[in-house]
Symmetry: C2
Subunit: 351 residues, 2 copies
């Protein structure tokens, strides 16, 4: 196969990720086939352009997009079924699948983790550009150069942001940036249990932010926790230890200060825009009546003085028909914006 | 004093909350004086219209807006210094201050907790409408009707959303909706410590949401933790217990599913708009080039087909000059919006 010809790709698993890979590669002119253990899922995926039915010709690349719990076995099956094909998978945990692949043929297996975000499932939600501008982790392991370049090419074609990592390092990292935060968010939400409804209504934006991902469906997370148990346990021990240090401290204020100082240093490392340092945007909170067009008017008034809005957050008031909308802008533009909004009769809630 | 005449108010503490109360009441025509242990803070607050200098005439209402750590003592001093005045305070913890007040005169003390949000401090950030549309908890305790009506009138004048609660119930509630979530968010952030910078860059919107409040300054939180230690400990025990159940489970997947199911039920109780049930808005994610005016154009295109945007979230890509902007709209308008955006050449990232 020359580098310019596109390889025949077969996708095993027609859920959101599998179907989206199929749609994206098909749209780029690749020859794609797709299957699923569920006939109806496969039918839907094919109907929306995710690929055709596998014929007699063997695929050159197999993308395993099965649920994490079965991904190790399906990767092994694929390596055995197509003895010349490169195999990749898209699960959120990489080392257990690499181990399973190594038991068959490590040279033909490359791990992938396209970090496509939202907890939506099923082929009907699939989009060819689901991966655009999102990190797509590639774990080469002991794969051949050919295998790595093939999988990297898929990621690039789908406009993912390729990040090459060791599988174990990937699993340790996602335990801390993704898996343990999910568990902690659910635990914070579950701790609301004893409160009356009126008490829960005291919630501010802080609680909403912390618990947003606690609304996720547990099915996939259960699989992820089982596959990444070791790294998740180490991270949970870290978090539990810090919470216990606060809980047991002689001076709870001092212990919390220590924890918060360490947390602040880490938050500052989470990238802001374009991988640069996190910007110190200035928040300007405006009281926006909850009527169609008000948000547009607000942004128009900001644009009229040439102020670019870097970020927006909207906090809906539980009891009043207004939303507190916060515009985040560069510090040097904050005064201009405040002046402009005030002159347009906007009510500023807090700077 | 008649109900229509406004009482003479003296504010002790010229930080963000104290100065904002002063500005708001002064703007409404009340006679306000303000002091601070720090002369410069008092001078700044007076300069921006938060009140004058206390003269010979005794105040009828004293608002203690001192840091939580000294609030109990300052409330006692105020009750003693002005034997006819009603005294309130604005700290985030209410029972220890009520206990301190009861030792002097419970009939003249009413607890307040204006939940004004943002972690910004100092009089220069003060605004008279800091409290507008935010919950303002009033804890009557054993106060006289006159005292309760006076404090409630302050809250209403500042357009707060008055919520009457028992002090102990307030403290138990805020431990769960505010104090423990802060501790947990900091612990999740601190657990990023062992990661390399490139690994932290795998962070998605989930981690950003969970850890946003971990960027808060610890000083006030240390005070709050000391004053609300008992309720905070009970809540931390709840959270630690749930994390340990996941950590120690024979089947970590089953344990996480149980925790997430409980968390989902609680998240659904956090009010959405206007105290109604949380709306099932449909998220539509658009790839927006990071250029001035693009966000405005996006909202204009949405408004042109009459679709109201209920909420917006912006996820900045760490490596590419685009932002993934998600518009949340009513389910029945999602298809119209998708069609309109597509016809205006917007790239839709995921449904």
């Amino acid at each position: 196969m020359s580098e310019s010809a596109t390889p025949r790709v077969h996708i095993v698993g027609a859920g959101l990720i599998g179907a989206s890979v199929g749609i994206g590669l098909s749209a780029d002119g690749w020859a794609v086939t797709i299957e699923d253990v569920n006939d109806e899922s496969a039918r839907v995926a094919r109907a929306i352009g995710a690929g055709g039915v596998l014929g007699d010709e063997s695929p050159e690349l197999v993308v395993v997009a099965a649920p994490p719990s079965v991904a190790p076995a399906v990767v092994q099956q694929a390596l055995r079924a197509w003895a010349d094909a490169v195999v990749t998978d898209v699960a959120s945990v990489k080392q257990p699948i690499a181990d399973a692949a190594t038991a068959v043929d490590a040279s033909r297996y490359v791990g992938s983790h396209p970090m496509a975000g939202r907890e939506i499932s099923g082929a009907t939600a699939a989009q060819g550009d689901l991966f655009k501008a999102r990190p797509w982790v590639v774990c080469p392991g002991q794969a051949s150069e050919h295998a790595v370049s093939l999988v990297t090419r898929v990621a690039r074609t789908l406009q993912g942001d390729v990040v090459v990592m060791d599988a174990a390092a990937h699993d340790a990292a996602v335990a801390r940036v993704s898996h343990a935060p999910q568990v902690a968010a659910s635990a914070v939400a579950a701790a609301l249990g004893p409160l009356r409804h009126d008490d829960v209504a005291l919630a501010g934006q802080g609680l909403r932010d912390v618990t947003r991902i606690a609304a996720s469906h547990p099915a996939m997370w259960a699989d992820i926790a089982r596959l990444n148990r070791e790294s998740l346990e180490v991270t949970l021990d870290h978090i539990i230890g810090d919470l216990e240090d606060v809980r047991e401290a002689d001076d709870i204020g001092e212990a919390l200060t220590d924890l918060m100082e360490r947390g602040r240093l880490e938050v500052a490392r989470i990238p802001g825009k374009h991988g640069g340092p996190t910007r110190d945007w200035v928040p300007i909170t405006v009281i926006v009546p909850d009527e169609p067009g008000q948000l547009l008017k607000l942004l128009s008034d900001a644009a009229a003085v040439g102020v670019n809005v870097e970020d927006i957050t909207i906090e809906h008031s539980p009891r009043q028909p207004v939303g507190l909308t916060t515009l985040h802008v560069l510090p040097e533009r904050a005064q201009d914006l405040l002046r402009a909004l005030t002159s347009h009769q906007w009510e500023i809630a807090s700077p």
